[in-house]
Symmetry: C2
Subunit: 140 residues, 2 copies
DNA sequence: GTAATCTTGACTATTTTAGTCGGGTATATA
DNA sequence: TATATACCCGACTAAAATAGTCAAGATTAC
């Protein structure tokens, strides 16, 4: 049970960006160097982030990306959503047909998975990108 | 972000067993039929459960498996542990060498992953196998 | 006009996962 | 004591997911 690297890198990259004022675009090249993430891979990730309006792009020299909204309003779950990180523990819904259709006695565990999903999702719903930066600063 | 089938099947199978008195061994064949899980796969799963003292086996005709302890004391996390289900969201620990060694500014997200792990783990620590059966019964 | 930077789809190697196979061993019961 | 039922266990494999690269652009600052 783990997150995929796309999601993780996305959060890392955005946290990296969040340390700056938000006025000047940050280039992927810089993020790539600071966070040791492949530039080509970052491009793929930011494509998704842009499509989901999490970042805005500025083309050309001195271009880069800017975080669209206030970092204290940007939920971690929004980032995951953009990258298709399904926080789904896979209940019986997916494999229906043969079994669990609600009333079946097969799915004793049905509710467990539902609860877990809820539990994890609420964690990410309540965490904001801003929290990550704040925490770090107050600690150093 | 999802659980693997081994863990899920293990919980399903044990929940299935938990409905019985706990005196008579339950055969994998029966579980296989009731839960629509491949018998061969179940064998593999129960091998691990047995090694981790979650179930005891009874060989021969009319044999099967018995849950070792009281179902109200059996944590879901114990089951996952037996099947190597790592509830690890992969922080920077694994990929150290080049980056985050605690003091590095690279790992703004370090704490996020740690918190998440804690959050998920505590969920499973507090859930007992008995809870699953109770819930279902009270609902029907 | 050229260097820096974003844009995009397609491709690929590697790893993980899910599940099977085959050949055992133990024991209840007829 | 024969036999059917069940556990035991390592090795294997097909399929899917993942991580990451490649190639070929399009914009814009200077």
């Amino acid at each position: 049970m783990k997150l995929n690297t796309k999601s993780r890198y996305a959060v890392m990259a955005l946290a990296d960006m969040a340390r700056f004022d938000g006025k000047n675009p940050v280039s992927l090249r810089d993020i790539s160097l600071r966070q040791s993430i492949s530039l080509l891979y970052l491009e793929q990730i930011f494509l998704r982030l842009k499509k989901n309006n999490i970042v805005k792009s500025v083309r050309g020299t001195n271009g880069g990306y800017i975080i669209s909204k206030n970092i204290n309003d940007l939920k971690i779950s929004d980032i995951f959503y953009a990258l298709d990180e399904k926080v789904k523990t896979v209940g019986c819904k997916k494999e229906l047909k043969r079994g669990c259709n609600g009333k079946s006695s097969k799915c004793l565990t049905h509710n467990l998975w539902d609860e877990l999903d809820l539990h994890i999702n609420s964690f990410f719903e309540n965490k904001k990108l801003g929290d990550l930066v704040k925490r770090k600063e107050s600690r150093n």
